[in-house]
């Protein structure tokens, strides 16, 4: 792409990535969550892809690394779900413990980052999974279309 597109995306990319990560981290307090934040982050990856080309991006983020990250997120999610198996599948066993264990007062309140039990951790697992998965889809399809496009 042209220099204008490249400079603008260089300026915008950090904000898009930080907004996506913020959405994932604050999923249990504000609207959004793992899926939505991961989609925002992956749209930033798509912008990088459009601006700099798939081969340059493939040097920085290998496809098999992204695949491994996606599987890691899925395994972490299922592992957290199995963590409360003593009471029930997907039981929130971290409420009241020392990890994300604060219980907020009922009704409107300021919001406390250290609440939610397993929900923030599951948000992070799902966020990692969605980031890696959607980036992998975009990257693999762009690489394939580059290959066939250059052979015409």
């Amino acid at each position: 792409m042209s220099k204008i597109v490249r400079s603008t995306s260089e300026f915008l990319i950090p904000f898009i990535f930080i907004f996506g990560l913020y959405m994932i981290m604050h999923g249990h307090l504000t609207p959004g969550g793992g899926f939505q934040g991961g989609a925002v982050f992956a749209s930033g990856m798509a912008l990088l892809l459009v601006a700099f080309g798939s081969h340059k991006l493939e040097k920085k983020s290998k496809a098999h690394v992204l695949s491994m990250l996606e599987s890691t997120g899925a395994l972490a999610f299922i592992g957290l779900a199995f963590g409360g198996i003593a009471v029930g599948f997907f039981y929130n066993f971290l409420v009241g413990s020392s990890i994300f264990g604060h219980i907020p007062p009922s009704g409107p309140n300021r919001g406390d980052m250290w609440t939610g039990g397993t929900i923030p951790l599951m948000n992070m697992a799902v966020g990692l999974k969605v980031i890696a998965g959607l980036s992998l889809i975009v990257l693999v399809m762009a690489l394939a279309s580059d290959k066939t496009g250059s052979q015409k």
Binding site: F77, G107, L136
Partner: protein, 91 residues
Amino acid sequence: MRRVAAGISLTIVIAFLAVTALLVHPFGHPPAQMDDYIIKNTQRETGANNAVAAVVFDYRGLDTLGEATILFTAVAGVVMLFRKREGETTR
């Protein structure tokens, strides 16, 4: 024969619709109290201010597991479709 079958199935559908229309809850009376329960108890039970996140990841976590599996399957399908095959001839 086909007209008779069509007539019978149409009668069944109309009867089903009529019975359903008669059984609809009156206005202002929700059929379930689950939403009230979640609004009242989310913060105490899960500690999360965001009730939607609590429903998605706690009360209905199994559903989210299915969504994650769908994403996984989609990624696996795309990677399989666009993989580099050995001995692939360039056209």
